[in-house]
């Protein structure tokens, strides 16, 4: 309920993108009271209080000025968060969002409007607003609408979040709290947030297609502050997925506690990281942040279509060693970045960004796919009905390579082993990117010696990919709750990496030299 200042408002929309791990402040987004899904009929017409006639009317208005294509994106999202602080689950947050976005496309120009009032008049008005991007005679709609069959089921949810009572969630938070305090006497504060949502979307477009999807999401953040000899450190661990309550198995909860505490108390032993160029070994798992920033954003086709990505004009060219293969996909069961269909209603598959070291495929939405004359790759995504879709990543990772983790660490005389990250950012055109290492180790003479903490690493995408000279066979997809930000829209993503060596990159530690 804060009256926010508006310094964050941005009028500019190119050039930079961010990635952040889930944070306590980052809580609300949404679920829905869904009936059991069945094929063939637009199950959610009733939920939105709409019917085919209303959809037809809105799409006709959308194309009344000669747009090439139009779509409607209905969304009902309910999210809830329970938070624990000072030993008690003593606050909850809940949000409901209901609305429809209308998009009209003319060439590569887009008109967009949305309304939270789903009456015929309001929908018509939003459609006419979007229609104004074009300026010509109206277009015909198809005779019939076809409801697409759900082709995939990547969220195996037995119990919908709407049907989970608070009493079923609270013991999870309380258990995590008790175990975290019990794990180490140095732990002084524990904070936990447990979030879930379900989002029902119905997409109807001017080709006559109607597609529905019901998307669950859950995440849990466990943070702790520890104290030793008057020094305090904070650390955290979080998990996320398109999963139900069964996601929170004993094994997962135990891992959360173990990792959160270990990542915090190790900081008491940490030394400042060195400064300058050196080899960096990226640990398997959340190190996928390297791919997200170094290449993922640069391969989103909107930047390439505009010529503003450092990867523009590089398709078909070798950019990395032949054992480097990089994938973006949305098909991993239960992954935070998984989707049955994207936010334009297209099938979601597996896209090879880099195959055998060669730059292969951009990530497309419908506009860029048409521009390049290729099929959409299922990367058209949006934060909610309030935004037009654009090419976005889903789950981005590197396939296993020919080396072994031990051999990679042993190969480094002096460098950093980076294990845990909080956030990253990239300049898509210049290619410069960063990721913030919360936990890591010094490598000295091929051995992990002392822990390091809180150091930013900065590099340039194509240069760093050339520097990836060892890739291990131990690929892990991170289970953490990553949110990717682009043009002010946040979408959930996954990432992963096997252990990888970057031969040289700038580590932003502290200089030991004299004042300059």
């Amino acid at each position: 309920m804060n009256e926010q200042g508006i310094s964050r408002r941005q009028v500019l929309h190119i050039g930079a993108a961010t990635l952040a791990g889930s944070a306590l402040s980052d809580v609300l987004s949404g679920p829905a009271r869904a009936a059991t899904a069945s094929a063939a009929s637009p199950l959610y017409f009733a939920r939105f209080g709409v019917d085919e006639g209303l959809i037809r009317g809105a799409l006709a208005a959308a194309l009344s000025k000669g747009g090439d294509y139009a779509d409607l994106y209905f969304q009902h999202r309910v999210g809830s968060s329970f938070m624990l602080e000072d030993g008690a689950v003593n606050r909850a947050f809940k949000s409901v969002e209901l609305g429809v976005g209308v998009r009209v496309v003319k060439g590569d120009q887009v008109g967009y409007g949305f309304t939270e009032d789903l009456t015929r008049e309001a929908l018509q008005q939003a459609a006419l607003t979007a229609a104004a991007i074009a300026d010509g005679p109206s277009r015909e709609l198809p005779q019939r609408f076809h409801v697409g069959d759900p082709k995939a089921s990547r969220y195996a949810v037995k119990l919908r979040w709407d049907d989970v009572r608070p009493e079923q969630k609270l013991p999870i938070l309380n258990r995590l709290n008790e175990r975290t305090f019990a794990a180490d006497p140095r732990v002084k504060k524990v904070s936990i947030s447990f979030n879930d949502e379900s989002s029902v979307v119905l997409i109807a477009d001017s080709t006559g297609r109607i597609v529905e999807d019901v998307r669950p999401m859950t995440s849990c953040y466990l943070g702790c502050v520890a104290e030793q000899n008057g020094v305090r450190e904070q650390g955290a661990y979080n998990v996320a997925g398109r999963e139900d309550l069964s996601f929170y198995s004993e094994e997962r909860l135990a891992r959360m506690v173990k990792e959160a505490v270990a990542r915090t108390v190790v900081l008491f032993e940490a030394v400042p990281a060195p400064a300058g160029e050196m080899p960096v070994v990226m640990a398997a798992g959340s190190s996928g942040i390297l791919l997200h920033e170094a290449i993922g954003h640069g391969m989103e086709a909107d930047f390439n279509r505009k010529g503003t990505s450092i990867y523009s004009d590089k398709i078909g060219k070798p950019i990395a060693k032949p054992f480097v293969n990089i994938v973006d996909e949305g098909t991993q069961q239960g992954a935070r970045g998984a989707l049955n269909v994207d936010d334009e209603g297209n099938d979601v598959g597996k896209t090879m960004l880099v195959q055998d070291g060669v730059l292969t495929t951009y990530l497309h939405d419908q506009i860029s796919a048409k521009h390049y004359g290729v099929a959409p790759t299922g990367n058209g995504r949006r934060e909610s009905y309030q935004y037009a879709p654009m090419p976005r990543m889903r789950s981005t990772y590197m396939l296993p390579g020919p080396h072994k983790k031990d051999e990679i660490i042993a190969s480094v005389k002096k460098g950093i082993y980076a294990t845990n990250f909080t956030n990253g950012q990239v300049q898509i055109g210049a290619g410069d990117f960063t990721f913030y290492v919360k936990n890591g180790w010094l490598i000295e003479d091929g051995k992990l010696t002392r822990p390091v903490k809180d150091v930013n690493i900065i590099g340039n995408g194509p240069k760093v990919l050339e520097q990836v000279d060892m890739v291990s066979d131990d690929l892990e997809i991170d289970e953490g709750g990553w949110t990717c930000g682009k043009d002010g829209q946040g979408v959930p993503v996954s990432q992963g990496l096997p252990t990888v060596r970057v031969a040289s990159i700038t580590v932003g530690g502290r200089t030991t030299g004299k004042r300059g």
Binding site: G5, I6, L98, G99, G113, P166, K306, D432, N456
Partner: protein
């Protein structure tokens, strides 16, 4: 200065009434409606136009000593009633929290009566044509600069917003706010010889459309800034003087906001705990939280909880003078609430311009942009990606990129050696150019 629409008063009052009817002992609601129009222009034509009005209500519920906060955009009467009833039930499932309560009504009192000048009555007169024309002017000016043949793409745009909100609390608070903003900006991408495609931008925001600066200036500046990035390289790692551009200095100043909050203090996540009355920075660090800046983007008569706004010194001659304490953490910390969040910052300015500060610095790095990185609120350690220009012999030299600065906030602010005369007007933090010596830069 107009009042928010009666419809919003009705929604907020209805939400509070329903909450009490469904079993809450106290409640506070905020109803808001916001119209936003944005034109994005790229390479000779409109790229995207978006126009929308969004509305919603958020509600703080106090039920049997328990607390929850909920929000909905579904304002249909039946839906709202069901939502609030469900929310009250949800709140009952929580642990009681003796520290949760609406603010002491005494703190609502003394609200200043003044016109903050944050609403332009001419808002609705902005035409679609004006938005397009200004956007085009920015592109044309960008493409007219010397060296424009290296330009790959020019994006420009116009965004305007009008937001009205009403806050009502069951213990006697009622207040509203109507504000408008107008932003223009341009971003230019250029092609470098080595295949990099750096970009830079320039933008401006105002409360009154008639006060927008010349659009062409921003197009020109964006292009010149982007072109100046050509050939950027990292330089050797070492400790140097940093001249920090006023448009990005907020990145460092903003990192002090979290650790000054009641939550960070109470949760032992603040390196500024126990430092009230102590010198945190050099004597040049002299800043107040000023909610009454005319036309300011953070200006307000009451804060997010309804507390009457007050001007407060944050740092005086380097000494920390206030924390940002809301009602809840105030009770937990046994401290009097101040306010839960910053409004605008007002700096004690220096006398020199950025150019004079660069000349006086002699050698160092002029930082014009940050890239990622983070600042640890618990320890004060920071590590941030930077770009900018080498300063050599008091003049700007070649562009640098892919560099990083690291250190600890407690150390950094003691090395604040100069403050410029140029507060950045387009942000709530209103930072002038800042100069620090002995900053650790990592590069080669």
């Amino acid at each position: 200065m107009s009042k928010a629409s009666p419809e919003l008063y009705e929604v907020a009052q209805l939400a509070v009434d329903l909450a009490l009817k469904k079993g809450a002992s106290a409640a506070a609601a905020r109803a808001a409606k916001s119209r936003d129009v944005e034109v994005r222009w790229r390479d000779g034509k409109v790229e995207q136009v978006q126009e929308s009005t969004t509305r919603g209500v958020s509600l703080a519920l106090y039920v049997d000593g328990r607390y929850a906060a909920v929000s909905s955009s579904d304002l249909r009467r039946d839906a709202l009633e069901t939502f609030i009833a469900d929310s009250v039930v949800m709140t009952r499932s929580l642990a009681p929290d003796p520290h949760r309560a609406l603010p002491d009504p005494a703190l609502y009192a003394g609200r200043r009566e003044m016109d903050l000048q944050i609403e332009d009555p001419a808002y609705l007169t902005v035409s679609a044509e004006k938005r397009r024309t200004l956007s085009k002017e920015m592109e044309d000016a960008a493409r007219a600069v010397r060296g424009a043949e290296a330009i790959l793409s020019v994006s420009s745009g116009f965004n305007d917003n009008r937001t009205e909100s009403v806050r009502i609390a069951s213990n006697g608070f009622s207040g509203d706010r109507v504000e408008t903003t107008f932003f223009i900006g341009a971003e230019v991408a250029v092609k470098d010889a080595d295949g990099r495609r750096p970009s830079d931008s320039s933008f401006a925001g105002v409360r009154f459309v008639g006060e927008l600066p010349a659009a062409a200036e921003h197009g020109r500046i964006a292009a010149e800034r982007a072109l100046s990035r050509l050939g950027a390289k990292k330089v050797a790692s070492k400790s140097m003087t940093m001249v920090l551009d006023n448009r990005v200095a907020g990145r460092l100043v903003g990192a002090l906001g979290g650790p000054l909050s009641g939550q960070a203090l109470q949760q032992k996540r603040s390196f500024l705990e126990g430092k009230l009355g102590q010198a945190i920075g050099s004597k040049l660090l002299h800043v107040s939280d000023d909610p009454f800046v005319p036309k300011g983007f953070g200006s307000r008569l009451f804060d997010g909880e309804g507390l009457a706004a007050k001007e407060r010194p944050v740092f005086e001659d380097g000494v920390l003078r206030t924390y940002f304490i809301d009602t809840y953490y105030g009770k937990k910390l046994n401290m009097a609430p101040t306010t839960g969040g910053m409004s605008n910052l007002s700096w004690r300015l220096g006398e020199r311009s950025r150019e004079e500060l660069i000349r006086a610095a002699g050698e160092g790095i002029y930082v014009t942009g940050f890239l990622g990185g983070n600042s640890n609120a618990t320890t004060g350690d920071y590590s941030l990606g930077v770009q900018g220009f080498v300063i050599r012999g008091g003049a700007l030299g070649e562009p640098v990129a892919e560099m990083n600065i690291s250190g600890n906030q407690l150390e950094l602010w003691k090395h604040l050696v100069a403050v410029g005369n140029d507060p950045y007007p387009y942000s709530t933090l209103r930072t002038p150019t800042l100069v620090f010596d002995g900053v650790s830069f990592a590069g080669l």
